[in-house]
């Protein structure tokens, strides 16, 4: 066991846990932050997608020891605070398009969507069909089309 510190949703946290435990379990099982979901533990389904220093990543695929004390981890719970509002524009778009069905994949979908919009902009374009086709997040309820609609709408507001 060793101590690991990092910044979680704007606040410093410290946990005592073995180095190789993946961050997803540190978040869910140790810290009780359950927005990021387990769907595979293999870096495939993207249900756990959260942000590290503003970039989308899979906490199921990162040992806690790889997280630095200065790293800012943002889960769905902390997303609104990144824009200083009750809801991030992407969450509002998700509500507007009534995207969710069971909802299990949706925290990961929203975190991926925000990062994907930023990634497209960094590459010099607004998000479009080719970018949507790169999103790997599984939605077993099949909400993919509304996800595309919501991202298009949400991207206009941030």
């Amino acid at each position: 066991m060793s101590a690991h510190t990092f910044i979680l949703n704007g606040k410093p946290v410290s946990v005592d846990v073995e180095d190789d435990v993946r961050l997803l379990w540190v978040l869910r099982d140790v810290l009780g932050v359950t927005g990021p979901k387990y769907g595979c533990g293999l870096g495939v389904c993207q249900a756990c997608t959260s942000h590290i220093n503003g970039k989308a990543f899979n906490p199921c695929s990162v040992p806690v020891s790889a997280i630095q004390p200065t790293d800012e981890i943002t889960t769905i719970e902390g997303l609104p605070a990144t824009v200083g509002k009750d809801l991030h524009p992407m969450q509002e778009a998700w509500l507007e398009y009534d995207v969710a069905q069971c909802g299990y994949c949706q925290p990961g979908q929203i975190m991926a969507a925000v990062a994907k919009v930023r990634q497209a902009r960094a590459a010099g374009h607004e998000i479009g069909d080719a970018d949507f086709d790169e999103i790997r997040n599984i939605c077993r309820c099949g909400t993919y089309f509304r996800i595309r609609e919501a991202i298009t709408a949400g991207a206009k507001n941030f």
Binding site: G35, C40, F57, I76, W94, D98, F132, D133, R140, G142
Partner: protein, 778 residues
């Protein structure tokens, strides 16, 4: 009193419901107003058949599976109740499961409608297992809205009537002068009272039976309007809690080391002490299905499961592979009656094969169990909680009354959560360890040991002469579907009353759920089943998607045989005008028959079920540029570029929710037609990850999707959860046949190709989590 003096009864009561039927509601004793109604309603009217060459009505035309569940709901003594709270909210514990299909939202809408209360003031929870509800607590066969539509409205209308009476007493005016809106009772002179302020005055100290009328459809203000999911905000903020998100004291993460082949069993563990000593691990016990470990984190459970050295007894299917199962199916096929070579008619014939498919949701099987001496408490997303309660009690040696089953919202179901495999396992583990456990299946276990939709074949032979179809025979042969989840008990209890003669249980379900929507002369559809060694279940439909896909491909061939356009041919032979209407709608909106580039094509198909009908027009792109798309760890293949869907669900309570169900079903239909199947090799399903099992992903999502909800046709809601899958699968298959010039006979169409992935090892049974998350960040 003489007959002449008798007051007119029922039909001309004053106020709402003049000239309409009255229903029986209950006011229950309580500190605030509690109203109730009997769950269940009458069987819906039979569908009329209008014939070109008339086919005798098939059993499914008369009474389908959803009727059966609704009929089964009738004799129950249990009531469902709504409580009015002093804060003005109405609470209702729904005796059904919410797994993403939107029943909590549509239920809240029914209550808001009859009670005249804002939707946001209706609080829906899921009821714990209630054995007194008998068959009334089973979520399946797209049945929820059908069977609860009237009873829930009756309860809500009863509440409104009591609130009106309480306000009338308070205001000193007749109730008939009062109106209700948005949770407030108002009088013409301007007096008003909120429901919350009347909740105590409207309460009763004894239970009363009262007659109530329901709003006329023309007065609906909520039902039939598009409403967002009531849990949408909780979902997008990450606050919605699934079973694994609950914090039950001391329920530590728990996983099971599972056998290398389907249903293998543990014989011995070689390194028990070493694994018990691993970091975080608290307990290791052998259970019926494997070896369970409990640890501080799921990550440490994964480590322990991978470290366990277990000797396994063989499974139930160690010598089975795709090819051997296919042979079993072939041998079990029931004979066709009409000879293939016919001097008077031409024959169209084909046999289609459908691979095993996984019905796993994104949320894996999971449950929390806390078993103590003499009692047990379980939290899980289960659609048949009463059956689960009984089975868990039997397993633990407890009385059912000592087992509490809390129904938690589920992260998808698709048939999987009709079963309670995880709840049963969690209870067994908790009892053996003597501690609370939070059990989770690994994704790889989900594919390899979880339930599958069984492999099946469908042999169709049809004959036609002089432009008309004379016979249509279909023989569906399937690996056995497990119905041990409560639906079985419904059928067994009612089977004697059904118009299907003396046939078996699965055959009954088949007859009740399968229809041929066309007038094809002498029509027979029969099922035979083999091999009970697999863990199976339905998957957004039991037989329909495969049966429908086979049918519609043959319908296209028949159309070609009689020299007609596929759309026109369908519309001329359809039995039901509602089916014609949805077909016309998609043909018109989707510009049926437009010129398509080589390698691309349209397909059209429809599917009726559970008193609803959906039609699909799809466009597919099978050009090499598309099928050759390179995406890492993906199967790309042909792409469905456009889907136009029209759905008639009788009365859509929530059109936005109905569209969502259609959208999901379309993604499933695309998957089972083109990409997602399981390969069985010597008792091992080769797929072990979402990157092996190719459920639809964004790169195969149609970029153009239109879903039209037809105006109400029947006045009562039909089923919708499974409806779109069959129509979409069939339309995609028909489009693929047209685009490539070859009718596919094996599904999904990529199934026969060499595996496009390297299968994960079977020992250890689950892979380690990767460590490359940071370099992959974007």
């Amino acid at each position: 009193m003489g007959a002449q003096g008798a007051a007119p009864q029922g039909d001309d009561e004053s106020g709402r419901g003049v000239g309409r039927r009255r229903f029986l509601g209950y006011v229950l004793a309580g500190p605030t107003l509690v109203v109730a109604a009997q769950l269940g309603e009458e069987v819906l009217a039979p569908t009329e058949a209008q014939a070109a060459i008339p086919s005798l009505p098939e059993p499914a035309d008369i009474l389908d599976l959803t009727d059966l569940l609704t009929t089964a709901a009738l004799p129950t003594s249990g009531l469902i109740s709504i409580q009015l709270n002093t804060d003005g909210t109405a609470s209702f514990a729904l005796p059904r499961a919410e797994v993403g299909q939107g029943v909590t939202t549509s239920t809240a809408m029914l209550i808001a409608e009859e009670l005249d209360i804002p939707l946001a003031q209706v609080k829906i929870t899921l009821a714990d297992a209630r054995p007194e509800l008998l068959f009334n607590q089973l979520t399946g066969a797209s049945n929820t809205t059908v069977s609860t539509y009237t009873p829930i409205r009756v309860a809500a209308a009863t509440a409104r009537q009591r609130l009106l009476a309480a306000a009338a007493a308070q205001f000193g005016v007749p109730a008939s002068t009062l109106t209700t809106a948005a949770g407030v009772v108002s009088s013409p002179s301007g007096q008003s009272a909120t429901y919350g302020s009347l909740a105590v005055a409207a309460a009763s100290q004894v239970t009363l039976q009262v007659g109530v009328a329901l709003k006329a459809q023309s007065d609906f203000q909520v039902i039939g309007t598009a409403q967002n999911r009531i849990d949408a905000l909780d979902i997008v903020t990450g606050r919605k809690q699934f079973a694994m998100d609950l914090s039950v004291p001391n329920a530590l993460p728990t996983m099971v080391c599972r056998p290398p082949t389907v249903n293998g069993t543990p014989l011995s563990v070689q390194n028990l002490a070493a694994v018990k000593a691993m970091p975080g691990v608290t307990d290791v016990v052998t259970i019926a299905t494997g070896v369970a470990v409990r640890a501080a984190t799921f990550g440490q459970c994964i480590d322990a499961v991978r470290a366990l050295q277990v000797t396994w007894a063989p499974g139930t299917e160690d010598n089975s592979s795709d090819a051997t199962v296919q042979q079993e199916l072939k041998a079990a096929e029931l004979p066709l009656v009409v000879p293939p070579l016919n001097l008077l008619a031409q024959t169209v014939e084909a046999t289609f094969t459908f691979a095993f498919a996984s019905n796993s949701a994104l949320e894996p099987n999971c449950a929390i169990a806390d078993v103590r001496p003499g009692r047990a408490e379980v939290w899980a997303a289960v659609k048949a909680p009463i059956v689960a309660q009984g089975a868990i009690a039997a397993k633990l040696g407890l009385l059912p009354s000592a087992v509490t089953v809390h129904v938690v919202q589920g992260g998808g179901s698709f048939g999987r959560k009709l079963f309670f495999d995880a709840a049963l396992e969690a209870a067994e583990i908790s009892q053996l360890m003597g501690k609370p456990v939070k059990l989770m299946w690994h994704r790889t276990d989900e594919f390899r040991q979880g339930r599958t939709h069984p492999m099946s074949t469908s042999h169709v032979r049809a004959t036609h002469a002089l432009g008309q179809v004379l016979t249509f025979e279909q023989r569906h042969t399937s690996v056995a579907t497990d119905f041990g989840h409560g639906l079985g008990e419904v059928i067994t209890a009612l089977v004697a009353d059904l118009p299907v003669g003396d046939i078996g249980f699965s055959e009954t379900i088949f007859e009740l759920s399968q229809q041929t929507p066309y007038n094809f002369g002498v029509t027979t559809q029969l099922l035979s089943e083999v091999d009970k060694g697999f863990n199976t279940g339905s998957m957004r439909g039991i037989y329909s998607p495969n049966v429908r896909c086979a049918q519609e491909l043959i319908v296209d061939r028949l159309a070609a045989g009689v020299g007609q356009d596929p759309y026109q041919f369908r519309r001329q032979t359809l039995k039901d005008p509602r089916a014609v209407a949805v077909l016309d709608k998609v043909a018109q909106l989707g510009d049926w028959g437009r010129t398509m580039a080589p390698g691309t094509a349209q397909g059209i198909a429809l599917h009726p079920e559970y008193h609803s009908v959906a039609a699909m027009l799809v466009e597919i792109d099978c050009t090499p540029a598309t099928t050759g798309r390179q995406i890492p760890d993906a199967y790309t293949g042909p792409r469905v570029t456009k889907v136009v869907c029209a759905v008639d669900a009788g009365l859509a309570v929530n059109p936005l929710g109905l569209q969502a169900q259609m959208m999901g079903g379309i993604m499933d239909g695309i998957a089972v037609a083109l990409t997602s199947g399981m390969h069985l090799d010597n008792g091992v399903f080769q797929e072990g990850s979402w990157d092996n099992y190719f459920y639809t992903r964004q790169w195969n999502t149609p970029p153009d999707l239109q879903i039209v909800v037809m105006p109400p046709t029947s006045g009562t809601p039909g089923g919708a959860g499974e409806l779109a899958v069959g129509a979409a699968m069939a339309a995609v298959a028909c489009a693929y046949a047209r685009a490539t010039g070859t009718m596919p006979t094996s599904f999904p169409i990529n199934h026969a190709a060499p595996l496009s992935f390297t299968p994960l090892p079977t020992t250890p049974p689950i892979p380690q989590s990767p460590v490359d998350g940071l370099p992959r960040a974007y």
